[in-house]
């Protein structure tokens, strides 16, 4: 049974039509995960027993007439989401021994929808990275070209979906961590509006930026997944109490009358010409679909990455203080005293990039530097958000490349943090503003995929999904597979 090439929507139909049971589907999926071809290092933990039990429960639910569209469909959770009774490592040695005593809200929501979690996906350590090379469990390979990175930090999720190991995955996006790996792996990934999805149980990197979202092959799948994932959770003070639209039922419709803004800052210096050409071709497709275009300016774009690399490290330096070797996680051998316990447990438990960001954030918040760094960054943050508000007064959507280049080689940027940070130059501003954004496949540079980014106004995930879906009705980039088209 070759089910692993199918999308969520197709599997949903197959399950509903009795073509296969969730048990059969899950067994096939688990078997596929064990094949050498699947050795992308995308999955850190396979949860076979729990998966089969969940699959059986899904089949019973279907028999009882209580199945939803996602019931019985497998997925992987990024290992940043706490899963009760299952190791939740966050890609770090610090949590290599951490068996979470509780489930994240997103995990509960997907389980409530009947989805079957088959494992936990690899990721940059504590979601800090754009290449998946900072993981304690080693780099993930890009299924399109195993010499290339899959992007990060949700690189394991992206590679697992692109490599057809699973039809769907969860991801989190703090500065582009869903959209950039989706782009580099040729899949569709949505970062919702900040507050749309509960952060409860999602291990915090930068609390005012982090947002969970779906990663799958198509916009339609992302719509189905977001419907289940979103929803009010009183345990997260920043989660918005707002009705969740039926995204999957509102995908149809042409784009006539839709105005799309093209920010000149997203097409300037630093953009790979071949990526630029793919985006230009996508603009043509959208024109054919009835959209009109307008040139806009997001004047403070060049300040987004600098502001981000103050705000995110500042928040992370505080968020990661709880990893101290006292109540959970890594603890050094035979600490001499309390300070030794802290310093060695943290020094051994955290990798280089995490330590680097903790130190940057500690410095930015310390006495005498707060105003120059943190406060300044929060002021710049407002300027960046205001740019978007102004733009959305004139346009419905904003379009541009997701990342300035296609996937780079493993090792290429590892020792140059700043050049690594610049691969998120088009995605980061969206997090600072808290807006929704989606990346969808729009071509290739050689064998490596190119991602197209659409940015919407607050809570306009529906419009984003609709525009992405329309594009996917007239193009087949999302159907291309590393193993051949399907």
């Amino acid at each position: 049974m070759s089910v692993h090439t199918r999308t969520v929507a197709e599997l949903s139909a197959g399950l509903a039509g009795g073509e296969y049971s969730s048990r059969e589907l899950t067994e096939s999926c688990l078997q596929h995960l064990r094949q050498p071809a699947a050795d992308l290092n995308a999955i850190i933990t396979v949860t076979a027993d729990q998966a089969l039990a969940a699959a059986d429960a899904a089949d019973r639910r279907r028999a009882a007439g209580d199945a939803g569209p996602l019931t019985g469909v497998p997925l992987v959770h990024k290992d940043i989401f706490c899963t009760r009774g299952v190791r939740t490592s966050c890609g770090s040695r610090m949590l290599d021994n951490f068996i979470s005593p509780y489930d994240a809200h997103v995990v509960e929501q997907m389980a409530a929808a009947g989805m079957v979690c088959v494992g936990k996906s690899n990721m940059d350590e504590f979601a800090m990275g754009s290449s998946n090379e900072t993981s304690f469990y080693g780099p993930v390979k890009n299924p399109w070209d195993t010499a290339a990175v899959p992007g990060g930090s949700s690189g394991g999720s992206a590679a697992a979906v692109a490599g057809r190991l699973v039809p769907a995955a969860t991801g989190t996006d703090t500065g582009g961590s869903i959209r950039q790996p989706a782009a580099l792996c040729g899949i569709t990934g949505l970062k919702p509006t900040y507050g749309r999805v509960s952060r409860y149980g999602m291990i915090a990197f930068a609390s005012s930026l982090d947002q969970a979202g779906p990663m799958a092959r198509t916009a339609e799948d992302c719509a189905l997944l977001l419907e289940a994932m979103a929803g009010f959770d009183p345990r997260d003070s920043t989660c918005v109490d707002r009705e969740v639209p039926r995204y999957s039922e509102e995908l149809a419709g042409d784009l006539s009358g839709v105005t799309i803004g093209l920010p000149k800052e997203y097409f300037g210096e630093g953009l790979d010409p071949e990526v630029g050409a793919a985006i230009d071709a996508a603009i043509e497709e959208y024109r054919k679909l009835g959209a009109s275009f307008r040139d806009i300016s997001l004047a403070n774009t060049h300040l987004a990455v600098p502001a981000y690399y103050v705000i995110a490290p500042a928040e992370c330096s505080s968020n990661l203080s709880r990893f101290d070797g006292v109540r959970f996680g890594h603890r050094c051998e035979s600490p001499r005293d309390l300070e030794d316990l802290y310093k060695r447990s943290r020094g051994e438990g955290f990798g280089d990039e995490v330590q680097r960001r903790i130190m940057v954030g500690t410095y930015a918040l310390s006495a005498g530097y707060y105003d120059a760094y943190y406060l300044k960054a929060q002021q710049v943050r407002r300027l960046i958000r205001d740019d978007f508000l102004q733009a959305f007064a004139e346009v419905d959507l904003i379009l541009g490349p997701t990342s300035p280049t296609a996937a780079f080689d493993i090792g290429e940027r590892k020792d140059d943090p700043v050049s690594m940070y610049l691969s998120d130059i088009y995605t980061i501003a969206v997090n600072l503003a808290g807006l929704p954004g989606i990346s969808l496949p729009a071509g290739f540079v050689g064998r490596r995929p190119v991602g197209l980014q659409l940015i919407g106004n607050y809570f306009e995930e529906g419009r984003l999904l609709q525009a992405a879906h329309a594009y996917q009705q007239v193009t087949d980039w999302h159907r291309r597979s590393p193993e051949g088209d399907n």
Binding site: Y102, A104, Y200, V326, S366
Partner: protein
């Protein structure tokens, strides 16, 4: 040189909520270690704080009671430092924008003067856990039950000039939080404690001297002793040409001295920043008015009323209103005694307080109820018993022998007011003491007291002293 002491207090009052400030774990005192530390309190990866409405309500009550401004918008910030009793590596507190600020309280000084003490601010924050050093070899045990208990940190202006003033201020705040029912005030359990900032300056100098902060004082007595010790220490230091170091000190109640704390010292770069897991706390004018409507009568207003309505002295009124329980008890006694307020005040502050002290009881578990005490006072005012006999009646009631009427009846303690009976006793006394009668009649008026005493003794205290007095004068 003449020195002036400058003191400011930071009082930590644990708010009497059922659940913690940011989690649904219980705040009940005395549970087995870590059984009331939930995922949020432990700072497990991925957990998030949600603010307790009642903690906010209580902070606003305090703000209104002290004439503070209630911030329409306040912000929670993280105070970052590593310590094992601080699970997240930061304490959620308020920094630049506290929930209430700029108010005042009035305190009574020993000389009867009233003094204004400024309240700089009061902010909400979470308490830390506890470190236990006893019973372990080379290790410390951490109990996080207390972690996340809501605290109101009440910061005074540096208006206090002596340890006595500091204690009077602390007692006033203690009384207020109990009136407001926002804190149980239990100092042994640590529900109400304070840090004292103490500095010295030459009298007349405007600038403040360098201050030392004495941490975690959990009794009024310790506050007084620690400050007095610290004042002497600083004066000695300054007068011998030294300087005071800005530092945190601990009070050692066994040795009666303060000493420098070895830990937490260099970690004073707290890297405060707004907590991104929490949003600004907004309180509307309507909400403030709703809370204001639920405030009880506060000690200052109650005191004024006791003076004007009951004719009490300001001193008595202040004593009786220091605690809400005592004031309520007193008012119930007055009601039961048909308005005999002064008599009630004397008895409540005298015999009742004495008995409570003697037996180590709180007013709430006095064996003599306000109705019983009031009933007895009625028997004094209707001359059924004398004030002296009343002391015996009170003791009997205290010992559970029933209410006043029952005790009087059972022991036959009614005053003798029958003139015939009193006259007979007087005649007997006169007959038995011819020498004294001679002297009295010779002009030694002071001997009247002797005769009254003899008659009262003969009546076993039951004769009405006023009546005895009058009749004796006539007879002699």
């Amino acid at each position: 040189m003449e020195w002036e002491t400058v003191i400011g207090l930071e009082i930590h009052a644990q708010l009497a909520t059922r659940s913690k400030i940011f989690s649904g774990a219980s705040t009940a005192y005395g549970a087995a270690p870590n059984t009331q530390a939930c995922a949020v309190d432990l700072g497990l990866p991925g957990v998030l704080p949600v603010l307790n409405a009642e903690a906010v309500n209580m902070a606003v009550r305090f703000g209104l009671a002290t004439g503070c401004t209630i911030a329409p918008r306040s912000v929670f910030a993280r105070k970052n430092y590593f310590y094992p009793d601080l699970p997240k590596g930061y304490q959620i507190s308020q920094y630049e924008l506290p929930v209430v600020y700029e108010g005042e309280v009035l305190i009574e000084l020993d000389d009867g003067e009233t003094m204004r003490v400024g309240v700089t601010r009061a902010h909400l924050e979470e308490d830390a856990g506890k470190s236990l050093h006893e019973g372990f070899q080379g290790v410390t045990g951490i109990d996080l039950n207390r972690a996340g208990t809501p605290l109101l940190e009440i910061v005074s202006e540096p208006d206090l000039r002596s340890a006595k003033q500091a204690v009077a201020y602390m007692k006033k705040i203690h009384s207020l939080v109990r009136y407001l029912e926002i804190c149980d005030g239990n100092m042994q359990e640590g529900s109400f404690r304070c840090d004292a900032n103490v500095s010295m300056r030459p009298k007349g100098q405007a600038e403040f001297g360098t201050r030392a902060e004495i941490k975690n004082l959990n009794s009024f007595r310790f506050v007084e002793k620690a400050i007095n010790y610290e004042v002497e220490r600083q004066i000695d230091l300054l007068e011998s040409g030294g300087t005071v170091v800005q530092e945190t000190r601990l009070y050692d109640s066994v040795k009666g001295e303060t000493r420098s704390m070895r830990t937490k010292e260099e970690a004073n770069d707290y890297r405060y920043f707004p907590d991104p897991d929490l949003l600004p706390l907004e309180i509307t004018a309507d909400e403030i008015e709703q809370i204001r409507a639920t405030l009880p009568e506060l000690p200052d207003a109650k005191k004024a009323r006791f003076v004007s309505d009951f004719g009490l002295s300001p001193y008595d009124a202040a004593v009786l209103t220091a605690g809400r329980d005592l004031a309520d008890y007193f008012e119930a006694v007055v009601e039961a005694a048909d308005g005999e307020a002064k008599l009630a005040a004397n008895w409540v502050m005298g015999d009742l307080s004495g008995a409570l002290n003697r037996d180590g009881r709180e007013i709430g578990d006095s064996p003599v109820s306000p109705q019983m005490l009031g009933g007895m006072l009625k028997r004094i005012s209707d001359n059924t018993i004398s004030g002296k006999i009343a002391k015996d009646v009170f003791e009997a009631m205290w010992n559970g022998e029933g209410d006043a009427d029952a005790v009087i009846e059972a022991k036959g303690l009614q005053q003798v007011t029958d003139t015939g009976a009193i006259e007979a006793m007087i005649d007997e006394v006169i007959a038995a003491n011819p020498g004294q009668v001679e002297q009295y009649r010779g002009g030694k008026d002071k001997l009247l007291g002797f005769f009254v005493g003899q008659v009262m003794k003969a009546s076993k205290g039951k004769a009405n002293p006023a009546q005895v007095n009058e009749m004796l004068k006539k007879k002699l």
